[in-house]
Homo-oligomer: 353 residues x 2
């Protein structure tokens, strides 16, 4: 349904990034890179949750040494997050990074940037040019907010030129901000100007309860317009949750095929004559562990109940004291309310076999 | 920043709906309407949370009688949710509803629809024409999903015509579905065809953990395109949370001016040498009860820390064993890590006075 913006294909190890390939979910390790064993464990959890690429910080020489060890112990390609230092970039590339994330703005020496590009080129490594509004704000302290988008785009044009001059095209672009409007605007602008894949993210959004809504608004809006080839949700919390939220955003737009059951529940209102929400929570628990896209609907009354049942594999619709059970839209049983949960459970258990 | 689509203005009691007025947040009471005392309490909680209109179900004559009593006891305008019955609509309007929500598709007799329109007109009550995909699905069981959007739009055109024929223009339109793509498409289509205000909602999205992301994606995408004049988030859960999420969606796009503090937190990575997330959670607790849009940033390192500090009222940026405290972008203190929380607390407490 969504027509993705056409991009060139970028290769990061075994992962292809661009409009010809599925959206790539990423996350980042939140442990000191030198803690090799725990990093490996976190990467495996992220991979199991659905991340196809994982990024690690490598601020010191010890970190790139640890990065090299981690690479030997995990199956998915890794990204090195580079700031300030060309040495770290080169060490990470030589260690086997599939991709590096670079903010050319904080590599002071232009020759250093060229050294990184040449090294990435000879090792066939991808580079994300990652602009973060906060990283250029010191330049912008007195720039009104309305000019920041333009400044970020201008920076991106300058950086891309450096890469293109050296005939290096294995690049992914990203412009991140903690502001939703500027994130949308600046990504729309770079989507128009370039045909490189775009990495989407809203940055520094905070704790989960503060981060999920703005990230969904910003990235959902862009994805719906076909913009975005790889995605990372930033949450000050468990990185596995970042992957789960990324999957939810993509799945909501049909850009990710979930193997998880989906539970449709009406929000209830004064028509609803029993505790549907508690019932739905119990059904949700039943669905844990099922690895197929079963669609289950729990509906409180006849206004929309039969309608949602028509699209569901299993549906429950409750009326006064009675419950109706549907299978693929067909009513298969009418039971007393106190028998309803047991009947639904029996139907769902069939899918667990 | 967002240019809202131009609409006519609709009046629902003291609330104006349309592009000339701020987005209106709504929710719905989730208790039997006959439970007057608890309904009044829930409406007051919703109003305090930020809802400007609250809807109640009135399936029976006893419900409209209770609705009339509730109206006397609350300060905000109320909406009656009508299905199947012209009598309930007329009773609710005569009781003093500011607006009714009507799905003309389930009022079988065309003359009944006209009676409702005439009654609303003489009482200067607003009507939302509310199409819900699930309510027409029985007609559509064999209609491929790709045709449903068109069918919903066709229905809306038919219904609007009925109202316009009777020269009744105090209408708000809504097309809801539990599917994000169809919700976006169908609202874009009615936004083009009509200049009546649009009520946005994604319906039957489920428990909070399943509902928040798709609702944010669907409604955020539409709002960013200027579509939507009133909004309701459907969550199978506490309706106050529906209002909170609506506020978060609107605030993320600059469509709602929050009086709450905002807490920016970096997601942390291997660079971060202390437990920033726990620190941020403690700061979040400090911010509870502050009723001004204080912007606080908690950042894990010097890559983006000083940049986020530039936009924040108070910021913390941590490095090995030390913490830097910023006020309006200016570094005001460098303290030992074990002194950091106390120092930040002192700064935040100043805003509590």
């Amino acid at each position: 349904m969504i027509k993705r913006r056409k991009t060139v294909t970028v290769t990061a190890g075994s992962v292809k990034i661009g409009s010809k390939y599925p959206l790539v979910i990423q996350s980042m390790v939140k442990l000191p890179t030198t803690d090799v064993a725990r990093c490996v464990k976190q990467i495996n959890s992220l991979s199991e949750a659905g991340a196809k690429l994982v990024r690690l910080a490598v601020p010191t020489r010890n970190d790139t040494l640890a990065f090299a060890k981690i690479l030997q112990k995990v199956k998915i390609p890794l990204i090195a997050d580079i700031h300030f230092s060309a040495e770290r970039a080169i060490e990470a590339i030589e260690a086997g990074a599939a991709k590096i994330r670079l903010n050319p703005g904080n590599i002071k020496n232009k020759n250093d940037i060229n050294r990184i590009i040449d090294c990435a080129k000879s090792h066939k490594v991808a580079v994300r040019i990652g602009i973060n509004e906060a990283s250029i704000r010191n330049l912008l302290r007195d720039t009104p907010k309305r000019h920041r988008t333009n400044l970020m785009i201008k920076k991106m044009q300058d950086y891309v030129q450096i890469f293109e001059k050296r005939r290096f095209n294995n690049i992914v672009l990203s412009v991140k901000s903690s502001d939703v409007a500027r994130t949308i605007e600046s990504n729309q602008a770079i989507a128009e100007k370039f045909d490189y894949p775009i990495h989407l993210g809203l940055t520094h959004t905070g704790l989960a309860e503060d981060a999920i809504v703005p990230a969904s608004v910003a990235l959902g809006t862009l994805l719906q317009q076909g913009i975005g080839d790889t995605i990372r949700i930033s949450i000050a919390g468990d990185p596995v949750q970042e992957v789960e939220i990324a999957k939810q955003i993509l799945a909501s737009l049909g850009l990710y095929k979930s193997r998880e059951p989906q539970l449709i529940v009406c929000p209830t209102c004064g028509r609803c004559q029993w505790d549907l929400i508690v019932f739905a929570q119990r059904v949700k628990k039943l669905l844990k562990g099922i690895k197929e896209p079963l669609r289950v609907a729990v509906m409180g009354c006849v206004v929309n109940g039969p309608g949602e049942a028509a699209d569901a594999d299993i549906a429950v619709c409750a009326a006064a004291g009675k419950g109706f059970i549907y299978k693929k839209g067909k009513k298969i049983a009418t039971v007393r309310q106190d028998r309803l949960f047991a009947t639904v459970r029996k139907e769902i258990w069939r899918y667990k076999l």
